[in-house]
Symmetry: C2
Subunit: 225 residues, 2 copies
DNA sequence: ACCAAATCGAAAGTATTACTACTATATCAA
DNA sequence: TTGATATAGTAGTAATACTTTCGATTTGGT
């Protein structure tokens, strides 16, 4: 490829930019894989270091804490989502069609999403966001992290969806809340489907696209009720 | 009072029933207060012990881990919620009125909710559930905990709401998913409102009842769209 | 009133986590 | 050759999440 998408992440999240060195790239790559495989609580820098055949302290030179590494992934994910949305919704003017695109993007159902040989494993990242993302903000120090703008990509993406909802129905009063509801529910319904199935109407064997339909109806019905 | 509501919690959650002793009651009481004040991650059995002027090991005789204590609160909360719903919806037959009641109960807006002198501080518990509940199931061992029935009260409550939605519109295909969406969103919108306000249409100063209205519309609009 | 069992408190110990600090080496470009 | 940058290694700290042991006290039944 002659071009590449560069996802820009808040510089305050890292001590040294992981994009600029082999070790850094490995930390990010294998970090995603390991958190996906073993879950956030089991994952430690020590284990990551031993997998990379290096030392704990080397990793701390890139990220000052596990939490910051998670925030890095979280930022990266939403910036990348924003790009996907922008790219796929380009030249589309019909709000309903835009809503379709939003949902497909959120469910990782876009064709061009998996570029072979690319740095970040998007499917693993998606699973991490589903399972671990809320832990980035359900903390004592949300306000602090928010002031440092760590949630900006997430909020920006939210604002984009809210704008599309507003476009679809300018009279609707709760476009921001509906937007955050839909975004969170893409993840929650997916998680419930796999782990607490009695909380959903979707089965793993059934088509996941049913989730899209459920959420689509939720959005579309904000008009005339 | 000549009567009292007894909330029954899964016996596998504790080693010794905390209801049966002073120390046990104190663990539960002060546990709620402390988690509410300092957040789950800061909270430790050591700190709780020192507050109760006792020893860490004494607490471990009641709950084998912090996680189990959290699950205890979580179970207790949803069993109590179920009771509140049953009590308040008694003799009500109109599904729309039932939906109103569900939302008021979920938002802790029932009059009879705060009984002075009662063991459990419901407002603190409510805040804990908003902020920490998802941590009970967003773990490596969800499946295991689920098999041990630790999420049963939560799932039962969900099923009740789903049944009411079904009653309101028997043709709707996603009553379970809509139910879990609404329950989670009561908490999320509340949390966002207080901590990441750009993700909602509600301000702290404004009436929280707007959340009820948003969710009510969400449910009611599942008919005819 | 007495004995056994239940309960509690205190102390100490373990493995692991989430770091920090300090030092040493390898690479490469001016 | 110098020096900046990247990486590596060792050691150490404070705290967490427990477990174990042991002795003292309380309690409940006969």
């Amino acid at each position: 490829m002659a071009w590449e998408i560069q996802v820009k992440v808040n510089e305050d999240l890292y001590l040294r930019n992981p994009e600029n060195s082999e070790l850094g790239k490995n930390i990010v790559n294998h970090g995603v894989q390991m958190i996906d495989q073993m879950g956030l609580e089991e994952f430690t820098f020590k284990k990551l270091a031993s997998r990379l055949k290096t030392n704990e302290s080397s990793i701390y030179r890139y990220f000052e804490s596990k939490h910051r590494l998670l925030l890095y992934f979280f930022e990266w994910y939403w910036r990348w989502m924003e790009y996907q949305l922008m790219f796929n919704a380009n030249n589309v003017s019909d709000p309903i069609e835009k809503i379709n695109i939003v949902l497909r993007v959120l469910m990782l159902k876009q064709d061009n999403m998996l570029v072979p040989g690319e740095l970040m494993d998007k499917e693993a990242l998606h699973r991490i966001v589903i399972k671990e993302a809320s832990k980035t903000y359900l903390t004592k120090h949300v306000t602090e992290d928010n002031q440092k703008q760590f949630f900006k990509p997430y909020k920006d993406f939210n604002a984009k969806i809210a704008a599309i909802i507003h476009e679809y129905n300018p009279d609707y009063k709760y476009s921001k809340s509906l937007s955050s509801t839909v975004i969170e529910m893409v993840h929650y319904q997916y998680f419930f489907m796999q782990n607490l199935p009695s909380l959903t109407d979707f089965g793993v064997s059934k088509d996941e696209n049913e989730i899209i339909n459920f959420l689509k109806e939720l959005i579309l019905s904000c008009k005339r009720n």
